[in-house]
């Protein structure tokens, strides 16, 4: 029964990881940079959901899409003000773009954490549950009601995003820009708009993840650091820019941490993913589903 418990809870937490990681993977696929402020989009979503529900009495089911919208808006603003210089035609960015991206996104992360700490305060706030049922029995396994509902929402959103990226008009544009930005531009695709769309979507997904988990991991100004670190590991494990890779890696990591934490050592739970990351980088650096790329 313990094994079943661990599998179910591992998959649940893995889905939440996937919701965070997909956005990061999309950003890397389009912009070829790592967004070190990704965890803070999560944090903004968590606070938006919690404070809108607690302070204004908005029902949780309405507060959740508000969190998503907050992440989308933040993503649009960040892309327009901070990320646009990366591909707006400045020749000098050719050899400085990676350093620029690291510095700017790190700085943004510090800014958002300290801004929330000073404006909202340092105390933790538990987000309201999405259901009044505190525990649900799935056979011999007990899962919290909110966790199960959040899981279902996360799965639905992941499926929708995967379908959008795979089959929709916007999704085909995203794929084109991810493959070759210049080629896509020559084909008439507005790459700046696509980048803005991706950043907004990524921000929205991370914020939604924060809102869904606000009842489980009580939001504090630094609450985004933990899921962000997991996301970086997952994106590399799954293959940077690969959504299926991110999903598989997330589920695998969730289950691995569950079993490893019980049967090996709970103290070293977070290191299992990092050890796996090192092994993957050594033997398959492109990740599980990534493609080897050679630049000329």
């Amino acid at each position: 029964m313990l094994a079943l418990d661990l599998v179910i809870n591992g998959l649940i937490i893995g889905v939440f990881y996937a919701l965070m990681a997909i956005g990061l993977s999309l950003i890397f696929g389009i912009l070829k940079i790592v967004n070190f402020a990704h965890g803070e989009f999560y944090m903004v979503g968590a606070y938006t959901y919690t404070l809108i529900a607690l302070a204004f009495g908005v029902p949780p089911w309405l507060a959740l899409p508000t969190a998503f919208v907050a992440g989308v808006v933040l993503g649009l603003v960040v892309e327009r003000l901070l990320m646009r210089p990366l591909y707006s035609g400045y020749i000098s960015w050719g050899f400085l773009r990676d350093e620029y991206a690291v510095i700017v996104t790190f700085g943004l992360s510090l800014l958002l954490i300290n801004l929330v700490d000073k404006v909202i305060g340092p105390y933790a706030y538990k987000g309201p549950p999405l259901t009044s049922v505190s525990r649900i029995s799935l056979g011999p396994v007990i899962v919290s009601g909110h966790r199960l509902v959040a899981f279902a929402i996360a799965v639905a959103v992941i499926v929708i995003v995967a379908l959008i990226v795979r089959y929709s008009y916007w999704g085909r544009q995203i794929q084109a820009v991810a493959q070759n930005r210049l080629g896509a531009s020559l084909a008439g695709i507005d790459t700046a708009k696509v980048s803005a769309f991706v950043f907004a979507l990524a921000g929205g997904l991370a914020a939604l993840s924060g809102g869904l988990l606000a009842n489980i991991f009580n939001p504090t100004p630094d609450v985004g650091i933990f899921p962000a670190v997991k996301s970086y590991v997952i994106v590399v494990l799954g293959g940077m820019g690969s959504i299926p890779g991110s999903i598989i890696a997330s589920l695998g990591l969730g289950v691995l941490e569950s079993f490893g934490g019980v049967y090996i050592s709970y103290q070293y739970r977070d290191t299992f993913g990092l050890i796996l990351l090192i092994l993957v980088l050594l033997f398959r650096p492109q990740g599980l589903f990534g493609e080897r790329v050679r630049e000329v």
Partner: protein
């Protein structure tokens, strides 16, 4: 007017100006504030919740002292440094306070790891260090003459926890300490004391990462064989997540398993907005309860704190206020801010603060050195959701044994 008169007038004017200059200079020296350094956690990963309460408590005390005329005619000035609960930052903070800000004493620290780092610097520079809330016994065992401890200490909690567990007849006890000097130190001490007081109790502890968010892998194995008592030795926000996840999984509270909060977090301002149903039936080691008898100073401090923050008073407020008051008293007794004179004053002090009459033991070689040994504590039980501390059930009054007949359990 002849030349002599002119000279006389100029001479008088010059004397008047000189006298005025001396007077204003003397007045400026008299008004120069006495600087006290306050090291607290105001940003993660340490407990910001604690840091804010300690800072607020210290500011209340400073205001009360300054409104009453200051110390030796001089106002107190608090210089606050954020340590983030990280030892390296605490060390740097104390170094900066002493060498750059020229504080005459340091206080405020509420996390043992940070306190252990800060006292090394205070010891090196021979600056009095009043440890507000670092519970680790190691802080006392160092034997540094500069360090004074008017706050709680792990041995006291260990004895209280072990006596409570033994009285409850628990046979299987599991502690969840956070991965800090405070957490692991207290978990080990509880085990040591239990071996003496209740040798048939099966006790173990599992360290949890205070920065982690998901403790389920550590909790799920308990479902098959839940313990009788789970001892929580963590600080917020990780403590809140642990309590919630124990409840979600149906592990505690149950008719078999109760949670014992050894960290005394139930009176924190953000407690109920983070735990809701999960905290009902929790037994709490309490360093403050509204039903405790407080000295007049304590009542004044409580009123001032509530007026300033809008929150009900809690134990950190009183500990922080006492820390500042003690420094002020030491200066008064010493008649100066000379560190050796202040240290001598503190060693011999017998003074009624916000929580009771404070004296410091001079017994060297263990946790008793420069420790206020009679820190009052109680044990209370939360019997309803969103219950204010004043409405909780006092199952053990200060200085009395626990009354088991008062303990409630879920059906």
């Amino acid at each position: 007017m002849g030349p002599a008169s002119i000279l006389k007038y100029f001479g008088c004017a010059a004397l008047a100006v000189a006298a005025g200059l001396f007077a204003s200079a003397g007045g400026a020296v008299a008004q120069e504030p006495i600087k006290i350094g306050l090291t607290v956690t105001l940003s993660p990963p340490g407990s910001v919740s604690q840091g804010v309460q300690v800072r607020d408590g210290a500011e209340v005390a400073v205001k009360m002292i300054n409104d009453a005329g200051g110390v030796l005619g001089r106002p107190l000035e608090l210089i606050v440094e954020d340590t983030q609960g990280i030892p390296e930052k605490a060390r740097a903070a104390v170094e900066k306070l002493i060498t750059r800000d020229k504080v005459i004493a340091v206080t405020g620290e509420h996390q043992s790891s940070a306190a252990l780092a800060g006292i090394e610097v205070a010891h090196r520079y021979n600056v009095p260090y009043v440890n507000t809330n670092g519970w680790s016994d190691v802080i006392r065992e160092k034997g540094y003459p500069q360090v004074f401890n008017p706050g709680n200490f792990n041995s006291r909690v260990a004895i209280a926890a072990a006596e409570t567990i033994a009285a409850m007849g628990a046979k299987n006890v599991l502690a969840f300490p956070e991965n800090t000097d405070y957490g692991v130190g207290l978990a080990k001490l509880i085990g040591d004391v239990l071996k003496e007081k209740a040798p048939d109790v099966e006790y173990r502890y599992e360290t949890l990462d205070r920065a982690a968010k998901d403790f389920l892998p550590a909790l799920l194995p308990l479902k098959a064989n839940p313990p009788d008592v789970i001892v929580e030795i963590m600080l917020p926000p990780a403590a809140y997540i642990l309590i919630n996840q124990l409840y979600e999984q149906g592990i505690a509270p149950t008719s078999k398993t109760l949670i014992y909060d050894a960290s005394g977090i139930a009176d924190y301002p953000d407690f109920w907005q983070n735990v809701s149903d999960s905290a009902k039936y929790m037994l709490v080691f309490g360093l403050y309860h509204p039903k405790m008898q407080l000295p007049e100073l304590g009542r004044q401090v409580a009123e001032a704190y509530t007026a300033k923050t809008g929150f009900e008073p809690n134990r950190l407020l009183f500990q922080a206020a006492d820390s500042v008051f003690l420094i002020a008293e030491a200066i008064k007794i010493a008649g100066s801010t000379d560190p050796d004179a202040m240290i001598k004053a503190l060693e011999g002090i017998k003074w009624t603060g916000a929580r009771g009459e404070i004296t410091f033991s001079t017994e060297k070689g263990g946790y008793k050195y420069h420790q206020w040994l009679d820190v009052p504590y109680v044990t209370f039980q939360i019997t309803d959701v969103n219950q204010p501390v004043k409405d909780t059930k006092l199952v053990q009054e200060a200085g009395q044994p626990i009354d088991l007949s008062l303990i409630e359990r879920p059906n």
